[in-house]
Amino acid sequence: MDLRDSAAESAFREQLRDWLAATLPTVGPEPAHTDWPGRREYDTAWQRLLFDAGYAGINWPKEYGGRGATPTEHLIFLEETERAGAPYVGVNFVGLLHAGPTIVTEGTPQQRGAHLPKILTGEEIWCQGFSEPGSGSDLASMRTRAARDGDHYVVNGHKIWTSHAEVADYCELLVRTDPDAPKHKGISWLMMPMDAPGLTVRPLTTALGSAEFSEVFLDDVRIPVANRVGDENDGWRVTMVTLSFERGTAWVDQIVDSIRLIGELAEIAKKVTSRDATAWDDRGLRREIGHLAAEFDGLWAMTKRGVTEAGTGVPGPTASVLKLRYTEARQRLMELGARVLGRASLSRADIAGLPASEWTKERINSLSYTIAAGTSQIQRNIIGERLLGLPKER
């Protein structure tokens, strides 16, 4: 067991730090959350900078234009960019972390050539059309129907929770191509151009008040059969293959961020007064802060273990365990933050010299973490059934 960087890892980290230090001052201010064209421009400009420096598609194989970095280098990349306050992957998320890797693994040479280079440079933005109003945790029950008509599919249905739909060029779309097959067997994976006739995007306002997601309505949308990735009716497997691409790194930036926030919370607690003392004078509160510090330090250690497992091909229990525990810990952190901020937590803008904006917005936003990408209840089922071998409920 070794937590230290190897010589090569250390060199990679140093080089990245130097590049970030030289590059970040040239990056302009982040656009408003509601300014979608602005966000696309900002996020894709950052992606272009990464591309030019050789950091785009860090975990993609070299032969498809990626850097072919090891899982540990991927971890270092996410850790250092987060620490340096670099922009997030943003609108490039689905392309770089899901659709792109799917095309790498399952696409034809033509499909790879048409999409992978543009995803890496930030020229092509993707969104995800998986969930449906009637198919959340039970995703495979989805009903959006694709009927074959010559060399096209004609698609009708309704997708939901589609991030970045307003600015996306393509959608990775799961459709039912065989309504009579068992639910996991009749699904196909299509690349849908977002300017296709019959497609309507309706933004969905979240509890945060922003339109992070959309609903996508599909009314006789014609998609070429050539846009199918993988075999017909093999879309469920095609989707699952890609999930391993994150290689244990899915929560790296947020865990690094949480460790920073724990330190910040201690500083806030020293400033906030309640009755005749500061919040920090309260031993019970200090213990709660210390407890969460242990939690996030532990999650960081677990991340490193998961990344090592990914690098050595050892299957481990880490991904579901991390997702479950991290998201719940993040919510506890935000609740504790709100308690320390007291009435200042009632403002979504900074107030009384306190950073209320970040804490209050993230308190709301973190509610989604235990739901998105597999609810905590589904994670507990996965852990119970796949890791512990307990029987399914039915």
Partner: protein, 307 residues
């Protein structure tokens, strides 16, 4: 970075596990400290991992997880951390904590008294001690001392001994947590109610899943702290403040062991509340260790102070 046990480390752990499993099957736990049991543990070499084998706390932590897994009683931690300068068994006393309780006093050669200046006192020279008639953990005898005995100074710093003691106690707790998860899962797979194994019900399944999560988080934290202390001992730069790492590991391990103990009783239902099912021995041991080498509350406070 390679944050998984190496093949050598796993082999050492497997070796200890095999010996312990054959000598201490769960169905016949000794009814207290047992000298022949102690001797067979000494033979596994766990106390000599650092002194004779030249290995570190990473290996010791893996071996101590195994001691937790079999619920065997004994003053393992103090014996290990004093192995360089004292003959075992060695027990310990935290002089700052009332009442002054010492486990396994009659079975030990010496007491490590972990005050600001750690000292070693011969166990035979302790006067006025009283054996607790009803110790919480029936397998771990406790003596109450009227005062802190005097002793001779040892050549190790208090902070280092406290870090090592907390780390290895955490390792035992992780082993307890892991074994309790296995016991609960195995019972949930075989016990049937409403015509199906109770583990098929989400209400029970999720208890088991949370047990695994607590164990794995505590284990990652434990291994990280062990590696950090080893790096420090080898004059390397540690990736995290060692005190912070150890406190996190002990806190999470206490939480995993005691939390899993309660969960395991719950999964076993009425049988979990009986003497004959060994779950209560694990939980009582976990409660004992949770008071040793710093409580979760104290470590949480220390962690906050280190931020």
């Amino acid at each position: 970075m390679h944050f998984l046990p190496t093949e050598d480390q796993l082999e050492l752990q497997r070796g200890v596990r095999e010996v312990l499993a054959s000598v201490f099957p769960l169905e016949k736990l000794p009814d207290g400290f047992d000298q022949s049991a102690w001797d067979s543990i000494v033979e596994t070499g766990v106390f000599a991992i650092r002194t004779d084998l030249g290995l570190g706390l990473a290996e010791a932590a893996l071996a101590f997880e195994e001691l937790g897994r079999v619920c065997i009683p004994g003053p393992f931690v103090a014996t290990f951390i004093t192995a360089g300068f004292a003959d075992g068994p060695v027990t310990f006393l935290d002089p700052a904590r009332q009442p002054l309780l010492v486990p396994y006093l009659e079975n030990s050669q010496a007491i490590l008294i972990l005050g600001e200046q750690p000292v070693l006192a011969p166990a035979s020279e302790v006067v006025g001690s009283t054996a607790l008639t009803e110790p919480l953990d029936p397998l771990s005898p406790l003596h109450e001392l009227p005062s802190v005995p005097s002793g001779t100074a040892v050549g190790a710093a208090a902070e280092q001994l406290k870090h090592e003691g907390a780390l290895l106690t955490a390792a035992i707790q992780v082993g307890i947590a892991a074994r309790l998860t296995e016991l609960a899962v195995s019972y949930a797979k075989t016990r049937e109610q409403f015509d199906r194994p109770i583990g098929a019900f989400q209400a029970v399944k999720h208890i088991c899943s949370d047990m695994l999560v607590r164990t794995e988080l505590a284990r990652a934290s434990l291994h990280s702290a062990a590696v950090i202390l080893d790096d420090l001992a080898n004059g390397e730069m540690a990736v995290l403040d060692p005190g912070r790492a150890v406190s996190g590991a002990k806190l999470l391990a206490d939480e995993a062991a005691t939390g899993n103990g309660r969960s395991c009783v719950q999964v076993y239902g009425g049988m979990g509340f009986t003497w004959e099912v060994p779950v209560h021995f694990f939980l009582k041991r976990a409660w004992l260790h949770a008071t040793e080498f710093g409580t979760a509350d104290e470590h949480a406070e220390d962690l906050a102070a280190a931020l």
